[in-house]
């Protein structure tokens, strides 16, 4: 079933100024899905960290590119998750992280995190912990424009 509420997509320049705006948009999407507060805080922490890594490392010394984030709602019979991919077209090296807390935060806040690198860039895929279905029917989740 295609409904706009279950899909989130944004592309922004790899500039630290963009991160707060990005988080606000992600927060609105999750609030629109009636995502529970604790899981929402975790998801924003984790996805923001992936985006921060992309902004910080992906385009070092090169031409600043974009960061592309796509979020999908995956609803099962008894629970739902979001799967978010954060993609950049640079050379993202987690070992450059000054603290190493980035991976800890991503893994600690999400159900599963994977990183795939290829010649075209890096894609981080984050799957949230399952949260309960909303009280209304799945169809009821679709926000009326």
């Amino acid at each position: 079933m295609a409904d706009d509420a279950g899909y989130y997509s944004i592309r922004f320049g790899a500039d630290p100024v963009q991160l707060a705006f990005f988080r606000a948009g992600l927060d609105r999407w999750l609030q629109g899905l009636s995502w529970p507060e604790e899981a929402r805080v975790d998801a924003i922490l984790a996805v923001s960290e992936a985006c921060t890594n992309a902004v910080k490392h992906a385009y070092v010394g090169g031409v600043p590119g974009d960061v592309e984030v796509v979020g999908r709602l995956v609803a099962g019979p008894s629970s739902r998750q979001i799967v978010v991919t954060v993609r950049d077209e640079g050379v993202w090296r987690p070992d450059q992280g000054a603290t190493g807390y980035g991976m800890s935060v991503m893994n600690g806040c999400m159900d599963r995190v994977s990183i795939r690198r290829d010649d075209a860039g890096t894609t981080v895929t984050l799957r949230s912990v399952p949260v309960p279905l909303p009280h209304s029917s799945p169809e009821g989740m679709a926000a009326v424009e």
Binding site: P16, V17, L19, A20, F21, R23, A24, D27, R28, Q31, E37, E38, V41, D42, I44, L45, S48, E49, T52, V55, K56, G97, A98, T99, Y101, G102, S104, V105, G108, C109
Partner: protein
Amino acid sequence: MQHTHDTTPVQPSESDDQITVVTRDAGAGRVVLEIGGEVDMLTSPQLRTAALAALADDPRVVVLALDSVSFLGTSGLAVLIEVREAAQQAGVDLRLACTGRRVLRPLSIAGLIPMFDVRDTVEDALA
């Protein structure tokens, strides 16, 4: 302390590239820094500058009041660790005052809670 962020969506505004820092002299060598806003890659240097400046005044106790912080990323965690080390070297008692999940969650996940003296309220942190 009733700073709830649960129901307030983060609204982008012109101030998004700034955090707020209010420094208050609590007397007897105690300084309180009230921090507000989103502490991320962009804004964490502001926190660093303000906290290190407070330490430079040779206080006895520095309290970072973090309940108005609506986001704390790992850039902010790195600054807190740096400030903690600077406080130890300067012989200053550093305390954090916060109860909000948006601050405690990243501290907890990174395993940093035991490294800090975390109190529920500023009053408690000043005691």
